[in-house]
Symmetry: C2
Subunit: 313 residues, 2 copies
Amino acid sequence: MKKYCFGIDVGGTTVKCGLFDTQGTVLDKWEIPTRTENNGVNILPDVAETIGKKIQEKGLEKEEIAGVGIGIPGPVDENGDVSMAVNLHWGRVEICKKLGSMTGLPVKAGNDANVAALGEMWMGGGAGYKNVILATLGTGVGGGIIVNGKIVTGTHGAGGEIGHMHVDDNVTEACNCGNKGCLEQMTSATGIARLAREKLASTDRPSQMRNAKEVSAKTVFDAVKEGDELAKEVAEQFGKYLGTALAVMACVVDPEVFVIGGGVSKAGTVVLDYIQKYYKEYAFSACKDAVFALAQLGNDAGIYGAAKLVLED
Amino acid sequence: MKKYCFGIDVGGTTVKCGLFDTQGTVLDKWEIPTRTENNGVNILPDVAETIGKKIQEKGLEKEEIAGVGIGIPGPVDENGDVSMAVNLHWGRVEICKKLGSMTGLPVKAGNDANVAALGEMWMGGGAGYKNVILATLGTGVGGGIIVNGKIVTGTHGAGGEIGHMHVDDNVTEACNCGNKGCLEQMTSATGIARLAREKLASTDRPSQMRNAKEVSAKTVFDAVKEGDELAKEVAEQFGKYLGTALAVMACVVDPEVFVIGGGVSKAGTVVLDYIQKYYKEYAFSACKDAVFALAQLGNDAGIYGAAKLVLED
């Protein structure tokens, strides 16, 4: 009987680590630095070492450990191989095989955004559901699609790359991906700030957003909560872009719940209100009653989801 | 060892039936009328009867038969229950249980459009792939999403309802679903004809489409093949709507192949050319090399996919 599992979330600066019981309770949580030098050759050995130490520290038996799940900032294929992870300075890495032989434990790997979606499904905003779309609104827009409790990885590891859905023909600036008019350009924290700057530049109408040294997504939603009309108009723009995009996604996989995470979601349920308004307008009739929830695990979604990876069949 | 299976595709007028070997070869194919009177109470007994007769006629042993798969024009949930099928005059029907007890065989049910996608994956335009999006361009636009060889049914049976993706804010006419600006309004056979009528009304420029008694999607693509400039502009509109929509879907499930079926696809590869042009423009970089194929099974996709349903784990 397996009692424990490890969830590892590799970022460009730190590796977040968690020791979980198989019910989803986090027993310990810590971080190590991500050593990206020399093409990140130390990253997996460092992970193996910290796991080994933790096993020793806690006096665990290897037989009690279901395995190690690991989230990587890059595309991960069905076999758990990474084709490239720019932020880790990695080219192709057979991560499951390598980390497996270093730890002597079963290893499963996934893309970090997808794995975060699995974490939110397991113990966060999507708990109790098996069909989930997570939209993470941070510097960019990431996502994860869960169908029947499983991550939709996609052929090129691009399942859930919802930030790069084309949503506007009139954008002239290029997205980081090279295309123009991606969802991320409008609904990330960066995108919302851009919408706000454009709105402020387009009019002389008063707004408390004008007092901000630098307008951010937080500036916008703080102002919305104060009843600022211009900020509300920006929030409507945001809500229309994202609500419509989620309605489109519902026509593809028809989820039970949409979980909204990332820095923007810290503004709270007001964010959901603006999204849902347009979702309900544009969703296919059968899908209009989908649930909307805020993400609950914050930066820990990755370690939760990674741990859950090894508990799946 | 199972050798045979039945694939049944229930339409509003006829029930298409197929007897297959488990390798996907159709051994016999026939139709019976769909008796929709009295809330369609005879439909399942008729299906059970025709299967029974075929078993007798061919001298099959029940032990050799893997089961009966059945496609229904309505939402089918994970248990194979139908909540409603307007064209069959059905309310809620526990189809697997009922047809199972009538035939003494295992029964699996699915939505007809989804099942057609499974058929195309098994023995048609998507053969050899496990991650497929089928877009059926007929009177409406139907679809099916296959991830790792399985139909994505969705929470409300609306997985693959791609015809009702919102793609245009400027449409004032309502779609059959009640919303406005659905993909189906622009890229179904009906939608293409509408685009053509609007184009013809907007200008005095010559076009062979003007000679048609009634402009249809066939009129448009026939004219495209003759080099008709106005028809080419309509095809560009169509291609932009559908190519962009498929690019958006790729950001959700990242399929290996898009299969284009339905009456419109009979115009041939020229249809794919117009779709792919815009797909490549708007798809996320990793997904740009997805394969495009024409559907190959025509009206038989449903019986193939239904048969495949019972061969799945």
